[in-house]
């Protein structure tokens, strides 16, 4: 029987009161809750989510609101979404909610789930990757210190703003032809390397070496390519930003030193961006295909938004190939912005980017599905790991992390919200075992975009940033309140929960002194 979202929601919510819902949730320890089978229909595995006291309240509050008669519109509460994902065919281990989890399309943002590649029933779901395919964070270091940058902060912010076009409908300054785009989609960061936009060492310090090999541009619609072509090298809007940041705290000096961070006060550049309209179109196209495939193959889910297809079906394979092309697009995009940031710094300081030591520390993807090897119940298995609003966090000695980080574990870049701090974490063995080597990705929304617009005033938001001494360049100030720190969970809560739960460890804290955004 096919159950529609609304059907489930209405039926379950009305029949079951909040107190009864709580019976399906069990607090395992101070940082971890279990979602038992039965919380949502047909759960194949249990769910789990990581929260501290503060985040726990937010999480349960959301559920309580949804249980009220009449309920709220929009998405299901995150905890319900985690449970619905646990009901998808072929899922193994647990459906995992990270501390920054919040409702999203189908999958909650901050949800990771792994599916057994050798089970013919296993599925791939675009909702489990998200619309901004391979949205991610890149961190560049410099050998500058706050005292070098502070006097020219405004000029530097302006220079970055001039180099990196931002906002909805922005166009990049790197000339691209349709043929360049085809090559870039196939080659990812190798294209940027070939054309000379980035350094050889950048590739080394990039998840997946900046290129998914199964990308097939021929599986991508013309519409997606048309949308994507002018947008390469642009930051986009929404929560995307480029920030000039200062090292504020070092928690693990050895790991930090491996990343080239030696002292507090050192200047870094963080770029948070994705595949722009291109990835959005790829995901939209795939959803249409998958709805058809679901009917044909009789795949049942608890939520219509969890559209999916068997991994080995034509639709499943086509999606993976086009998703890989979108991932490559995002890497080329972040590489282009790396190039532009280096130019901006070089012009400001009259030094070459080389002399400024502007190396890429790392580049992570937090919206992606990848084929990985994991140990499940003592057996090695090949899994399709969906990470939506979740960052890969592999432990020390993992073969897929760069040689420079073999001893420290993979650097995990956690972008905060505009004006708050950001973190660098490192992957742990415990995370590998508990969460398939995954951790949080950022702050995670607490207020919906619409609610933020209603409740906050953009002038106040901008004034507050100024008070904090943060230079800001923004294309559409009226949308700034959507991204105001008040709209988000506290990133420090999120990161501390990951650290305390042991699924990744704190390494460096960064605070912004200049922000540019859409």
């Amino acid at each position: 029987m096919y159950v529609s979202t609304k059907g489930v929601k209405k039926k379950k919510m009305v029949v079951r009161q909040y107190q009864e819902e709580l019976k399906y949730l069990e607090k395992i320890n101070n940082y971890c809750w279990r979602i038992k089978k039965g919380f949502q229909p047909n759960m194949n595995v249990e769910g789990i989510f990581y929260v501290n006291n503060t985040l726990e309240k937010l999480m349960l509050e959301e559920l309580r609101n949804a249980c009220k008669p009449g309920g709220i519109g929009g998405f299901l509460p995150g905890v319900k979404q985690i449970a619905n994902v646990a009901a998808l065919p072929g899922i193994v281990g647990k459906s995992v909610g990270l501390p920054d989890v919040h409702s999203g399309y189908g999958f909650a943002i901050g949800n990771m789930a792994a599916f057994d590649m050798n089970n013919p029933k296993s599925i791939v779901s675009p909702g489990g990757v998200g619309f901004d395919i391979n949205c991610g964070v890149r961190l560049l270091r410099t050998n500058l210190f706050e005292k070098d940058v502070a006097p020219v902060k405004e000029q530097l912010a302006q220079s970055m703003f001039d180099h990196i076009p931002v906002g909805v409908g922005s166009k990049g300054i790197i000339p691209m032809t349709a043929r360049d785009l085809e090559e870039a989609l196939e080659m990812g960061m190798d294209w940027s390397l070939r054309e000379g936009y980035v350094w050889a060492e950048d590739k080394e310090h990039c998840e997946e070496y900046g290129r998914m090999l199964n990308a097939d541009p021929s599986k991508v619609s013309m519409r997606a390519k048309k949308r994507g072509l002018p947008q390469l090298g642009t930051l986009g809007a929404g929560n995307h930003y480029a920030e000039i940041q200062i090292v504020d705290e070092i928690y693990n000096k050895w790991a930090a030193s491996k990343m080239g961070i030696e002292e507090k006060g050192q200047v870094c550049v963080m770029i948070h961006s994705g595949s722009r309209g291109f990835g959005h179109q790829v995901a939209t196209d795939a959803l249409v295909q998958m709805e058809k495939a679901m009917k044909r193959d009789n795949i049942e889910t608890n939520d219509r938004q969890l559209a999916c297809a068997h991994i080995n079906s034509r639709e499943g394979q086509d999606y993976l190939k086009s998703m890989a092309a979108a991932a490559n697009f995002a890497w080329v995009n972040r590489s282009s912005m790396t190039f532009l940031s280096r130019q901006a710094f070089a012009k400001q300081f009259h030094m070459s980017p080389d002399d400024l030591d502007m190396h890429v520390i790392y580049d992570v993807s937090h919206n992606i599905a990848k084929i990985e090897e994991h140990i499940v119940d003592g057996k090695q298995k090949t899994l399709l790991v969906h990470r939506k609003g979740s960052t890969r966090a592999f432990p020390p000695h993992h073969p897929l992390i760069p040689v420079d980080y073999q001893l420290t574990g993979q650097p995990v870049l956690i972008g905060g919200t505009m004006g708050t701090c950001s973190y660098v974490l490192t992957g742990t063995e415990q995370g590998m075992q508990e969460t398939f080597g995954s951790t949080c990705h950022g702050a995670g929304r607490a207020l919906s975009r619409a609610k933020s617009r209603r409740n906050l005033d953009y002038k106040e938001v901008l004034d507050k940033l100024e008070e904090l001494g943060i230079s800001i360049r923004v294309a559409s100030p009226k949308l700034v309140m959507e991204e105001a720190p008040e709209s988000y969970k506290n990133v420090t809560d999120v990161v501390n929960t990951c650290h305390a739960a042991g699924i990744s460890h704190k390494c460096i804290k960064l605070r912004p002194i200049a922000v540019i955004k859409g």
Binding site: D162, G167, K171, R194, K203, H397, L407
Partner: protein, 248 residues
């Protein structure tokens, strides 16, 4: 033309044959049939032997098809095939004899590959197990601060590595190129990722990890160098600020 094959078949004029000369060509074909191939009975060879006949080309064509020559286009190629065919027949008649010949030859060759040169290098005449030699190795190891392995040859290998890597002429000229920079990492406190239940074994495993990481770093550096050398040819980054457009 066909000199080697003709010589192998003991053709008298092996070095004088010109395949483009009609007389030469026909004479050779007749000889091959008479002496080597012997496909026809003697009385049936009359037409083939009549090398001045106008009909000889037709006779030749028929002969070729009779001996199942797969080539029909160029007479020279057909002749070449006939020569090869003759050689094969000749070999098959007496293959045991020939096989031995090749076998012996191969053996001789292998023997020749083993060097029998008397060394004039004094190092080759050293007794590597003599106490004198062992003491020498230990002294070198002490000077180079190399820990001594129970097997002095392994100690020597370690010394040799240090000399090759750190004491070669270019390293001596430019010591900064080989001195490792950066801070030491507290490897012994680092997480190994597994536990073998024995402190000594765990330490050994950590050292193996380090050696492995060292190798991979070398490999990655070489990969980067390769990328850079390709970039020198292909790179041409461009920007055009006229294209830029800030959104809303």
């Amino acid at each position: 033309m066909f000199e080697r094959k003709l010589k192998a078949l003991d053709y008298i004029d092996w070095d004088k044959v010109n395949g483009n000369d009609v007389q030469h060509f026909r004479k050779l074909v007749t000889w091959l049939e008479d002496q080597k191939i012997r496909h026809y009975r003697i009385e049936d060879r009359k037409e083939l032997r009549d090398i001045n006949s106008e009909n000889w080309p037709q006779t030749f064509a028929k002969y070729c098809s009779d001996v199942a020559c797969p080539i029909t286009t160029c007479p020279l190629d057909q002749l070449e095939w006939l020569l090869g065919f003759a050689i094969r027949l000749e070999f098959e008649d007496d293959h045991k004899n020939y096989q031995q010949a090749t076998g012996n030859k191969a053996k001789n060759k292998q023997e020749a590959a083993v060097p029998c040169v008397k060394s004039s290098n004094p190092l080759d005449n050293l007794d590597f197990e003599s106490n004198d030699f062992k003491n020498g190795v230990n002294v070198i190891a002490k000077i180079l601060q190399v820990p001594q392995h129970p097997n002095h040859l392994i100690t020597l290998e370690a010394c040799s590595k240090i000399v090759c890597k750190r004491l070669n002429p270019s390293a001596l000229e430019n010591p900064n190129s080989v001195i490792v920079k950066g801070k030491a990492f507290p490897i012994l406190e680092a997480d190994l990722g597994f536990d073998m239940g024995d402190k000594v074994l765990n330490t050994a495993a950590k050292i193996l990890r380090l050696l492995y990481i060292h190798d991979i770093r070398d490999l990655q550096t070489k990969i980067n160098e390769a990328i850079v050398s390709v970039q020198n040819i292909t790179a041409n980054p461009k920007t055009d600020t006229k294209l830029g457009k800030v959104g809303i």
